[in-house]
Point group: C2
Chain length 363, copies 2
């Protein structure tokens, strides 16, 4: 009865967790949060049609999800003006990032990202033994030129960039992203995380040929569509690229009610417009509240706002800690200099009221 | 604009799929199935309390699932008489098998299974570069002695065994499994897939100390609880073993409505008893129908029945093909000599009626 022989890679991994969930924090503080504004969930909720589809699909929950996500991919193909074979549906962008890294990255392979960008991407890279090379943000934005230079320098197989960015909410114009895609080093893939694209101005959405061999764009039903809980995301790119996911993905991994809800949500364009208006209003309100306290809210193309607390990371952590103590679940960037900010998700006005009061007490 | 540099491993993988879904077959045949009896789904459906929980949770679908599955693990701990730290919750047994293989198996590592056992396990082993060693079934049962011998011979890191077995429905007594666990070679893990355990006789459920360092037992809400579509499974074993999953699992991978449904299903023990009675009745009926046609149904400890068509694989494939042509979704073992059988899932009497008629026409 000796012990399991883990791979060398697994033995080298820390027992790290990309994010501590709000429920864990609630258990630690011994009380529920009053406002849940820390994970960029969309408190305006999904389309009523998506809720109805989810409820209807409860009766079908005895059946496995459809392994090809055929209907959903057809609908997404129409939505995006591409073909079904350009699309892979997966268990949220997190799940798809895991597959993507697994396709490309083995021990020692170079991967480039920004210092302070999405930690779950880093978690997957570490999980497959890749070597992460990080470049600093510039003016609170990810820096495509620096990412490219670092990719050239390291011979990277993969660059990660989110546009709009998380955790800062900033964005690049389409032209900048298009140039990045055009100038990728040979054999280097761009993972373009567009989780927040529905909230972004039109001119932040690049026009990249779907048959670009080395760009994978990632989107989700978690943010704009308000369905984080169902775990449905998608990637799109060249068919040659996309078909590789079939070699490793969990073919029966999609929840059937989730597939139904995503399909219904996609068709409810009116609800999406309402959500965008609600988010826009909440963003403006968060900015006003910040300004009233002499703080600056960064312009955001997402459903959250980074508030510059005006001093260093220690101070912002203190503000965040007070907010949490007052029952507001929020988060902040992990890395300097972005960590002078706290990050607040947009939510319905009752939660914005709670935030406003808590922020006043915290500052 | 050159192409992605996939890992050597990924380049070597075929674009294989463990199972073709019934919906794909429906599209190919241009008509829906009349009876869905091929994937060992549980057509008796989940507890009404689980359906209600799923519907109620639709309103919470804007929130991510709880990354620790804290409540569900607590409930499972009570159910199993172990602690929360002995349990990992994951995206179905398929998802957990992927994690398990990833923890242990690197290129060239030996893994032992039975020839004709669960193909999705093999898919994961191939996906991480492991070398599969297969031993034959004996008398339509997996052969623990042969598995052990092969593991010794190959220095295997991992043995897979399902009890009860899929696709044959056969089972070993607790004593046999306990002996297998006791005699594992040093550094060899037993993945004991108990997907069908709720349907098995009590004496098929082994008593293995929860702190056995090298046994991981896998169970699911997909079968007994009738919730295949929500993708919730769990593994249990020594805390030292279990905690490694936190290094690689998708921490925010669980669907929130799925977590709620699983919790409700677990608490409805009465429904589970009803389901077991329903399945037992359907098993007996399938056996009677087979016998009426001079065929033998294998005794089953699962929610499906393997019917021995009495000749070779070609003949059984022909029978299966006719069944499918008549609108009955069914499957059959992939490998000789098990492939003399077809495999029929238990279902409500309306589906059993359809099966009975179709089988009469097919033989």
């Amino acid at each position: 009865m000796t012990h399991p022989r883990y791979t060398d890679l697994v033995q080298s991994l820390p027992a790290s967790v990309p994010f501590v969930g709000p429920e864990t924090q609630e258990r630690q503080r011994g009380a529920p949060f009053l406002a849940r504004l820390g994970a960029n969930e969309n408190g305006f909720g999904p389309s009523p049609r998506a809720i109805a589809a989810l409820q209807e699909a409860a009766h079908d929950a005895w059946m496995y999800g459809e392994p090809e996500s055929y209907e959903l991919r057809n609908a997404l193909a129409t939505h995006l003006g591409v073909t079904r074979d350009n699309i892979v549906v997966g268990e949220g962008i997190d799940g798809l990032l895991c597959y993507l890294v697994r396709l490309l990255v083995g021990p020692g392979d170079a991967v480039v990202t920004s210092d302070g960008a999405y930690p779950t991407f880093n978690y997957h890279v570490a999980g497959f033994g890749g070597t992460l090379h990080k470049v600093p943000y510039r003016d609170d934005k990810e820096d495509p030129e620096a990412l490219l230079a670092k990719a050239h320098e390291t011979g990277a197989k993969l660059i990660y960039l989110a546009n709009p960015d998380n955790p800062m909410g900033t964005w690049h114009s389409a032209a900048v992203i298009e140039q990045l895609a055009a100038e990728l080093p040979g054999g280097c893939v761009l993972a373009l995380d567009e989780a927040y694209v529905e909230f972004a101005p039109e001119d932040a959405v690049p026009n990249i040929a779907i048959d670009h061999p080395a760009v994978l764009r990632l989107r989700t039903f978690s943010k704009g569509y308000g369905l984080a809980g169902i775990r449905v995301g998608y990637g799109f790119g060249a068919t040659e690229f996309i078909k590789n996911f079939d070699k490793i993905r969990n073919h029966f991994g999609m929840s059937r009610p989730g597939q139904a809800a995503a399909l219904a949500a996609l068709h409810d364009t009116e609800w999406l417009e309402t959500t965008k208006a609600n988010v826009s209003e909440a963003r403006a309100r968060i900015a006003r509240v910040a300004e009233r306290h002499g703080l600056q809210a960064l312009a955001s193309a997402t459903n959250f706002v980074a508030i510059d607390c005006g001093r260093d990371g220690a101070y912002a952590r203190e503000v965040l800690s007070k907010l949490i103590g007052l029952g507001v679940f929020a988060r902040m960037p992990f890395v300097s200099p972005q960590d002078r900010c706290i990050r607040i998700s947009c939510g319905p006005s009752v939660e914005m009221d709670i935030l406003e009061n808590a922020l006043s007490s915290s500052l």
